[in-house]
């Protein structure tokens, strides 16, 4: 690290000469401070609400907050870099007609070196600590989610379980608390914690419910878990985010968050409407083993389905876990289970 002593004056340039009365560092710092003081509130008050993926779920809101924090951490650095870049071009550029001038000698400066290392280390460590906390907090990715969750959410009694099944090239969804019907429609109740169990019948897909802040790989024979609590009614987009064949780009659909009452009506009526189909579906399981004979052949609960159910009902330690055993003892899901806010509409 080095300390640059810029030329103190440039004869014939009044602007630089005036600047020579004020140390460059102090001027740069003042400009930086002003820029940061303007940009940070703008980010917080004006930009934050518009940062994707939005606020439809707590997971989305968390992703939005994380993006805000990281942006606010990064913006002073970006401002400093851009400011120095512009400042150098304006103040230290070679003047027309003047011969090329060598730069000033560079000298080591312990204070600047220590400050540089200290500040950059603090920024990186801050990002590390914040990122780790956010990954673990509220069952985030790598903590309470994934095929082998380390933690499980505290409140699971009112959780709605939705199984997401990827197949070339469409998503279908099973609702085990409503008889296990399967449909290409994804309808969710508002103000409800949702447990997405994502799997695949063929190749690797990736379930990306963009506005919900949920993204989970759909692997055959893997039950990949992701959680989200719905906050707002509205439409969201579901895409496949893993290149999976010719119709990968068309493997998307729209889901809807509706009021719990509307959801319950839809779920019960769909359960009734699809009951003849549900009877011929394979028994609900966390994963399925499609026949590998190359052409069709039915899909069946995976051979380790019992283990999968056991694991989630009782936890990997063998003790009763927090996840609801909705598949083993279907109890149905009622609007009242969506919490005290279930009558609130937006």
């Amino acid at each position: 690290m080095s300390h640059v002593e810029p030329p103190s004056e440039h004869p014939g340039d009044g602007r630089v000469a005036r600047g020579a009365n004020m140390p460059h560092f102090a001027r740069l710092f003042a400009i930086w401070l002003l820029g940061t003081a303007i940009v940070e509130p703008v980010l917080y008050f004006l930009v934050w609400p518009h940062i994707p993926p939005g606020t439809m779920t707590d997971a989305a809101r968390g992703a939005q907050f994380d993006a805000l924090v990281l942006t606010m951490m990064a913006s002073p650095v970006v401002i400093a870099v851009l400011e120095y870049f512009v400042y150098a071009m304006v103040v230290w550029h070679q003047k027309k007609g003047e011969p090329p001038e060598d730069g000033p000698p560079i000298w080591g400066h312990v204070g600047i070196q220590a400050g540089w290392i200290g500040i950059t280390s603090a920024i990186v460590m801050g990002a590390f600590v914040f990122g780790t906390y956010e990954l673990i907090n509220t069952a985030g990715s790598g903590g309470g989610e994934g095929p082998s969750p380390i933690w499980t959410p505290a409140e699971t009694n009112d959780m709605l379980t939705v199984q997401v099944i990827g197949q070339q090239w469409l998503w279908t969804y099973r609702y085990p608390q409503f008889g296990g019907f399967e449909t290409p429609e994804l309808i969710l109740p508002n103000h409800t914690k949702i447990a997405f169990h994502v799997t695949s019948l063929d190749v690797i897909h990736d379930f990306w419910a963009y506005q919900l802040g949920v993204k989970a790989d759909a692997n055959p024979n893997v039950d990949n878990v992701a959680f989200a609590t719905t906050n707002e009614t509205g439409r969201f987009t579901v895409r496949c985010d893993e290149l999976c064949g010719i119709w990968h780009g068309a493997m998307y659909n729209y889901g809807y968050i509706v009021s719990p009452t509307t959801f319950y009506k839809w779920a019960t009526s769909t359960e009734k409407k699809l009951s003849p189909l549900t009877k011929i579906l394979p028994k609900f399981a966390w994963t399925y083993n499609p026949s590998a004979n190359g052409a069709g052949g039915g899909y069946y609960p995976a051979s380790d389905a019992f283990y999968q159910v056991y694991k989630y009902e009782y936890g990997t330690s063998g003790k009763e876990g927090n996840l609801p055993a909705v598949h083993v003892k279907p109890s149905g899901w009622k609007p009242s289970q969506a919490g005290s806010h279930h009558v609130r509409e937006r």
Partner: protein, 154 residues
Amino acid sequence: MKAPDGHWVHSTQWVLPAHTRVNMTIYEYDGGTPLRNPVWGRVSGVYGNSYTLNGTKKVQLLESTSTKTQVAHTFTVPAMGINVPLYAVPSSKLCPAAPCTLKEPHETIQFSFYTGHPGQYRWQCFIPCGLSYLDGNGGPMDTLGYMDGFLKVI
């Protein structure tokens, strides 16, 4: 596909008028298997959520879990909610070599659907019928002009 001039054309990309009822007849010559995902056995998105098989039998749900009833392909347009599972011809009666004529054993599937708004709608078969390919999803399943195409609604 039978063109308006009466000739048969090898194409899976069709132009259809918007907001129009389309009467469709599919001649199905292939053998089949049980469904990988039985959800594709349900007829949906067409008038009456059913089709007519060989001019007589009304079909709403095709249970293919038994070896007696097998499905060759589906005609599925996800964006329109259309899914029509096609009965398979028994393997002992398959037409020996393509192109097959209407005198050869086949199943005739008739149904109607409504085109709705203009747009480009993909259709595909949801029975992994690419024999010898990984999970049956390669080959004809992965090639435009065979088991997938577009409905261009104008």
